[in-house]
């Protein structure tokens, strides 16, 4: 398969909205946080990692997920906070794997420092969960030009839905945009470059601008040219 001017399968842009549900689980100590992490449902893990990064995307200096923030600000355990913050959600295509790593870090810390495991934090951690509602926007793209237009129209949450949360749906370490650019248009390098944009050090606006710049560069590259990147054989 070669690079296509138009993809056979269009990219369907979605709008997504999240409803936050408050659960009955809370934690006042690291031990309780561990218990909560073990027993909460996947929607809670999603809410406090994937979802919170979206709603705090403008904090590009040291905000990663709610667990790390609470351990830092309320439980006052900097080392564990750093370890939790270092988990990159882009490395996970399943919430089960992310939960396992979160649990492992907290469990390991509690084992190593049992004196801190039951120490009271300043404020409790409340486990919440996200209920995601996604609807088609009625906007599709079959070419790079149309794709660019669609990207500029997305809200922050929908951009995030396609760019970050998508890996949980795809079960791949990629995102909707890169997946379609590679599979639909055969633009492998562009897809890889898009997937490399760092969401932790960019706001959603700057990440989107970087993506648009990459798309524009690709459009210029192929303007009037017939050079095409080969799509790897399946």
């Amino acid at each position: 398969m070669h690079l296509m001017d138009t993809a056979e399968t269009p990219f369907n842009f979605f709008t997504v909205a999240n409803l936050t549900r408050i659960t009955n689980i809370s934690a006042m100590t690291l031990s309780e946080l561990l218990a909560g992490l073990e027993q909460c449902n996947d929607a809670s893990i999603f809410h406090h990692t994937f979802q919170t990064l979206s709603s705090h995307h403008f904090l590009t200096e040291g905000f990663s997920n709610d667990f790390a923030q609470w351990v830092l600000a309320d439980a006052n355990r900097d080392a564990l906070a750093e370890q939790l913050a270092a988990l990159d959600i882009r490395d996970y295509s399943s919430l089960a794997a992310l939960r396992a790593d979160l649990c492992q870090l907290v469990r390991g810390f509690c084992k190593l420092h049992p004196e801190f495991a039951c120490q009271s934090a300043l404020e409790p951690f409340y486990f919440c969960e996200s209920i995601e509602v996604a609807l088609p926007l009625g906007l599709t793209a079959t070419s790079l030009d149309e794709f660019r237009v669609g990207i500029t129209h997305l809200s922050h949450s929908s951009f995030y839905f396609h760019f970050i949360s998508s890996r949980l749906r795809l079960h791949l370490r990629t995102n909707d945009f890169s997946h379609w650019l590679a599979d639909g248009l055969g633009l492998i390098t562009l897809a890889e470059n898009v997937n490399r944009i760092d969401i932790y050090t960019n706001t959603l606006d700057s990440a989107r601008n970087k993506l648009l710049r990459l798309v524009d560069r690709e459009r210029r590259k192929h303007d009037g040219s017939t050079d095409r990147e080969p799509h790897p054989a399946r």
């Binding site: 709008t15 909205a17 999240n18 409803l19 936050t20 549900r21 408050i22 009955n24 809370s26 709603s55 705090h56 995307h57 403008f58 904090l59 905000f63 923030q69 600000a73 404020e123 409790p124 409340y126 919440c128 209920i131 509602v133 996604a134 609807l135 088609p136 926007l137 009625g138 500029t152 129209h153 997305l154 809200s155 922050h156 949450s157 929908s158 706001t203």
Partner: protein
């Protein structure tokens, strides 16, 4: 029936300049499956206080999306509002021993309002404890009822909460402004942040001359630091604590304090607190105690914009929308870590939190000494509000709730 006619309409598309055209297009997409499905909002006052202010803007915007929203206000005598004010304070943890007569008065007015209000929309949203008993009228399965609690329920008076619990547990869901306020309930509990309207008179950009005029009218010196707390004259907002913090700061900085607010129509205690504040401020010409008319949004806006630092030293707080108002104006904020305030003030990222008079004074001194840090906090605070606490986000949350409850997706 007391149906509220909302203020002048601002077309939803006007918000595109603030939040982006994409956000508005997506609100329209989310509203599409809900076209024509009716929503009824009920609260206890049409003017004064954050709830009325929010509904005044939310209802017209929802109508612009093609959703028939109505807003009704319950009525009650002085006896009713005295009871509900006592309930309000007790739910915030104030000492109170309710008498059986108090509960009777509460029930009696619920019954009277039941006969006056339609309560037949597909989605009925009841705001705060005053009208919570209207659930009595609910026919099971006919429509969706959700209780929107705007107040801090983290330490409620058990007698009052037990009484209200019997009503709340019959709803399809409850909405709180912070997870801390959620209670043990047999119904789903949702988290909705209250919101400000960036295009409302209270928040929109103002010409510098207007701000200068307001300062001149109230004899505030624009050349010296201005510390401001905007809120009702209510004990829970701790205006006397603010004066004490200001007096500590005054030892280090030649600054002024502005305490500005008005009394809501359901707040009979306001006059007494105002008197105490005047007494505490006596003899200090740099403390301006301004009793603003209920609708003086432009003056509030100007005072916030003119401020060097905005304070919100509440002892208890539902959410404290004045914090978001100040952050929207890129102001550094020093606020108490109570209620919904830590959601808005992420300590050292979007503002500074304090837990005491002394702590409040220290944080103010720190920001007056480090204006560059103050400016950075203000910038981040603005982004935080844009992402999470604007009315367009609130509308989005309601749409998501209706889609989720109504099975439209």
């Amino acid at each position: 029936m007391t149906a509220v006619q909302t203020a002048n309409r601002i077309p939803l598309d006007d918000y595109a300049a603030v939040v982006g055209a994409g956000e508005i297009e997506e609100l329209r997409a989310l509203a599409r499956p809900l076209q024509g499905r009716r929503v009824e909002m009920v609260n206890s006052t049409a003017v004064g206080g954050g709830v009325a202010e929010m509904l005044n803007r939310l209802v017209p915007l929802a109508e612009d999306l093609g959703l028939p929203f109505s807003w009704d206000v319950i009525t009650g005598g002085e006896d009713f509002f005295q009871v509900t004010k006592a309930f309000h304070n007790a739910l915030h943890g104030a000492p109170y021993h309710p008498q059986p007569r108090d509960f009777d008065i509460f029930r009696e007015y619920q019954q009277r309002n039941l006969h006056r209000l339609p309560l037949d929309a597909e989605f009925v949203i009841i705001h705060d404890p005053q009208p919570v008993g209207l659930i009595e009228d609910r026919t099971n399965g006919k429509n969706h009822w959700v209780w929107r609690c705007h107040i801090d329920l983290s330490h409620p008076n058990p007698a009052v909460w037990n009484f209200l619990h019997s009503y709340v547990s019959r709803y399809d869901g409850a909405i709180f402004s912070s997870p801390e306020f959620a209670r043990q309930l047999p119904i789903p509990q949702y988290l909705f942040y209250p919101a400000i309207d960036p295009l409302a008179e209270k928040n929109r950009d103002l010409p510098p001359e207007f701000i200068a005029n307001v300062l001149s009218r109230y004899q505030i010196d624009p050349l010296r630091p201005i510390l401001t707390q905007i809120s009702r004259f209510d004990r829970l907002k701790d205006p006397l604590g603010v004066i004490r913090a200001y007096r500590i700061v005054r030892r280090y900085f030649d600054c002024q304090l502005v305490l500005a607010g008005g009394s809501a129509s359901d707040d009979p205690e306001g006059a007494q607190v105002l008197k105490e504040v005047h007494r505490a401020a006596e003899g200090d010409p740099d403390i301006k105690v301004l009793e603003l008319p209920v609708w003086a949004p432009l003056e509030v806006n100007a005072l916030q914009r003119a401020s060097s630092i905005v304070i919100q030293k509440s002892l208890r707080e539902g959410f404290g929308l004045t914090v978001s108002e100040a952050l929207w104006k890129k102001k550094p904020v020093v606020a108490s870590a109570v209620g919904g305030i830590p959601t808005q003030i992420i300590h050292k990222h979007t503002g500074l939190l304090a837990h005491s008079v002394e702590g409040t004074a220290y944080q103010i001194r720190f920001l007056l000494s480090h204006p560059e840090i103050a400016a950075r906090l203000g910038e981040r605070g603005h982004e935080h509000v844009k992402e999470n606490f604007l009315i367009t986000q609130n509308l989005r949350r309601y749409l998501t709730l209706f889609l989720s409850l109504g099975g439209a997706v």
